[in-house]
């Protein structure tokens, strides 16, 4: 056994898992507050990559300005979508809202194709090219940066949910909307906030994913991989997104290396089925008990 190789593969798996976790966070934030599974997260991620491309390559803005603008752009899209499409659907069946997000994904993809056309593109390099070595183990620089960013963002969200009033309001809304209303919490405001923050997070993830794999109108499929993460981790758990992301990242890396790349998805989805059978609400998801 080549332990250095194993360590390198493991680090690579953790790095790509962190990217999945960051994207999964966008699913979790919206679901936690509104009980809506937003299938357009992948397309908002894609839009984030394109917004960064537009600000940096199109308008020639420096990276330090283009990144926050792209993230803010994602947040603005989140606010508009919530106000114009999701809030009018309040009270409708979950499947109706779910289908709205499916449609939203197609609309975003079509809009990007119209504005930036269908060609795949590479983002301007802003992460540098010097390789990172942990001891003797090689880690891709972009993956190391992605891991760092995802770690910081997820830790921040865990702290916000624990200590910030807005975070507590979101948890209260997630727990019981009627009770939250009666305590004076602005529930529609919480919904808006969740969409804004989640879409901004997805847009940020889009910049990282785009920096590694390039951008194209179809890069939103990455969001589907993150959906697996939230199902395993728990749809309403931030910690679940982190653990699920790292777990999937590791399993994919080990399967891809030691079994072959063609086994990556097979292994991931086998894990998903096994996970659902053992813990249908995910590793850290809230167990819902319905009493008749």
């Amino acid at each position: 056994m080549d332990w250095l190789f194993f360590a390198e593969v493991t680090l690579a798996g953790l790095g790509s898992g962190a990217l999945l976790a960051l994207t999964a966070l966008a699913f979790v934030l919206i679901y936690k507050a509104t009980r809506v599974i937003n299938l357009a997260v992948g397309e908002i991620l894609m839009l984030g990559g394109y917004l960064f491309f537009a600000f940096s390559a199109g308008f020639g803005l420096p990276v330090w300005a283009a990144i926050p603008l792209a993230i803010a752009g994602g947040g603005v899209v989140g606010a508009l979508v919530e106000r114009a499409l999701i809030r009018p659907m309040l009270g409708e069946t979950p499947i109706s809202v779910f289908m709205v997000t499916v449609g939203l994904g197609s609309v975003l993809m079509g809009a990007v194709e119209l504005v930036w056309n269908t060609d795949p593109r590479a983002l301007p390099d802003f992460m540098g090219a010097t390789p990172v070595f942990i001891g003797e183990a090689y880690v891709s620089r972009k993956i190391a940066i992605g891991f760092g960013v995802a770690g910081v963002v997820i830790t921040l969200f865990l702290l916000l949910f624990r200590f910030w009033r807005g975070g507590v309001a979101l948890r209260a809304t997630a727990s019981d909307q009627a009770a939250a209303y009666s305590c004076g919490i602005n529930v529609p405001g919480v919904f808006s906030l969740a969409w804004i923050v989640a879409c901004a997070t997805a847009a940020g993830a889009g910049i990282l994913v785009g920096a590694i794999g390039g951008i194209s109108p179809t890069m939103g499929v990455f969001g589907l991989s993150a959906l697996v993460v939230v199902i395993i981790g728990g749809l309403d758990s931030v910690l679940g997104a982190l653990v699920g992301g790292l777990l999937i990242g590791l399993v994919e890396a080990w399967a891809g290396t030691f079994l072959g790349g063609e086994f990556k998805l097979v292994t991931t989805f086998s894990l998903l089925i096994a996970g659902l059978m053992i813990r249908p609400y995910g590793l850290f998801g809230t167990v819902e008990i319905e009493r008749l």
Binding site: L19, P120, T257
Partner: protein, 394 residues
């Protein structure tokens, strides 16, 4: 306001049906002097970048051909719809277009569609088909008698790369990297066998999942295999730039190569320094090639002053070859059926493509096994020829 009951609605529907039948009959008469190229073209979806270029290429060929008087007295027309690169949608478009138009030439968007629709082509016996697929399975005149491709199939593309490698470095170490898709898997088995027959050393095969973004683990495998040449297949752009970028970070000496769909100049233009030296096989000249024996490229540049992608050349040449087959069939006074069209196509020998391909071509079967190696120069932001044209011998 008029009240519509069921009888009225049925009456209106029957009238509308009769009217549309009458109109389509009239339209068939009007189209008698037309030669319609049908197309299931992916203008959206994962292959849209190519579909948009292909549509432009076919449309321009149609325009140029019509300005030159058409084909044996007939005007060419392209009738197409978007398929989003989905087989079921491509089949639906095929059924719709072939019902509405008298189509004898058809452009399909994928290997999957070609394999699905070929039985229907055989049953109808009236349509010659080509398309975006260079799938090696389609390069079988017995199984796919009414199909062809305007270039080498994927196995032939890699064979051209291998010929180049064998000339550059005897016994070179090779790693194949392919996506886990029908497109990606297509040539691998045959290419590994061919490489071994040519005395090349295949030191690894790496498969990436279809949605792969991060390729760190694959790079680690590549680093340990340490090949002289790495051949990618089954990709357009991602994740190749990341492969190249990380390989350079690690100081790997391997030269990276790809096949036709990953060879577009504009795709590599904004990848920057990591793209430098990326090589691959191209069956056609690039838009900007000013070779004196390529007058058609000059004409294309006048028609479209900005760069046109490789898909454009593919669409243009496919339409040219289809039309040539139709022209030969009509001039011989034969019926425009699939058998005659294919037989006419197979009479194409030492044919001048106007310089799209740098050597005269022949189509004895279903493919045109010719290509040239190009290498990307990041400084000049252009793919530059790295070899002469290579014609495969059977």
């Amino acid at each position: 306001m008029t009240d519509l009951n069921r009888r009225h609605i049925l009456g209106l529907a029957a009238t509308a049906g009769l009217a549309s039948t009458f109109l389509s009959t009239l339209s068939a008469f009007a189209d008698e002097k037309e030669l319609v190229i049908g197309g299931s073209i992916p203008l959206t979806g994962v292959f849209a970048f190519a579909g948009v270029a292909i549509e432009a290429g076919i449309s321009d060929f149609v325009k140029i051909a019509n300005e030159a008087g058409g084909v044996a007295g007939r005007k060419l027309r392209l009738a197409y719809e978007d398929t989003a690169y989905k087989v079921d949608q491509s089949v639906a478009v095929f059924n719709k277009l072939t019902t509405q138009n008298d189509i004898h030439l058809y452009y399909g968007d994928s290997t999957g569609f070609a394999k699905t629709i070929n039985e229907e082509l055989n049953r109808r016996g009236s349509i010659l088909m080509a398309g975006a697929s260079f799938g090696s399975e389609l390069n079988n005149p017995e199984k796919y008698p009414f199909q062809f491709m305007a270039g080498p199939d994927y196995v032939e593309m890699i064979a051209i790369l291998l010929e180049y490698i064998a000339k550059q470095q005897k016994g070179a170490k090779i790693v194949f990297v392919n996506s886990d898709t029908e497109f990606g898997r297509d040539p691998i088995e045959a290419s590994v066998k061919r490489a071994k027959e040519m005395g090349l050393d295949v030191v690894g095969q790496i498969v990436t999942p279809p949605t792969a973004v991060d390729v760190s683990t694959e790079i680690l495998k590549l680093r340990r295999a340490n090949p002289d040449f790495t051949i990618f297949h089954g990709y357009v752009l991602a994740p190749l730039p990341e492969f190249l970028s990380q390989a350079k970070q690690l100081g790997l000496k391997s030269r990276f190569m790809g096949t036709f769909w990953s060879m577009d100049n504009s795709l590599w233009a904004n990848v920057g320094a990591p793209a430098d030296g990326y090589m691959g096989v191209m069956p056609y000249r690039y838009y900007y090639d000013t070779a004196p024996d390529a007058p058609i490229l000059e004409k294309i540049r006048k028609l479209r002053p900005t760069y046109q992608a490789t898909g454009y050349m593919q669409g243009f040449l496919t339409a040219m070859l289809m039309t040539e087959a139709a022209k030969r069939t009509l001039e011989a006074g034969k019926a425009l059926d699939a058998k005659n069209l294919k037989a006419s196509l197979n009479t194409i020998k030492d044919f001048d493509t106007g310089g799209i391909i740098g050597v005269p071509i022949s189509i004895p079967g279903n493919s045109v096994p010719v290509g040239r190696i190009y290498s990307y120069s990041a400084a000049e932001k252009q793919m530059k020829p790295a070899s002469d044209w290579i014609s495969l011998k059977k």
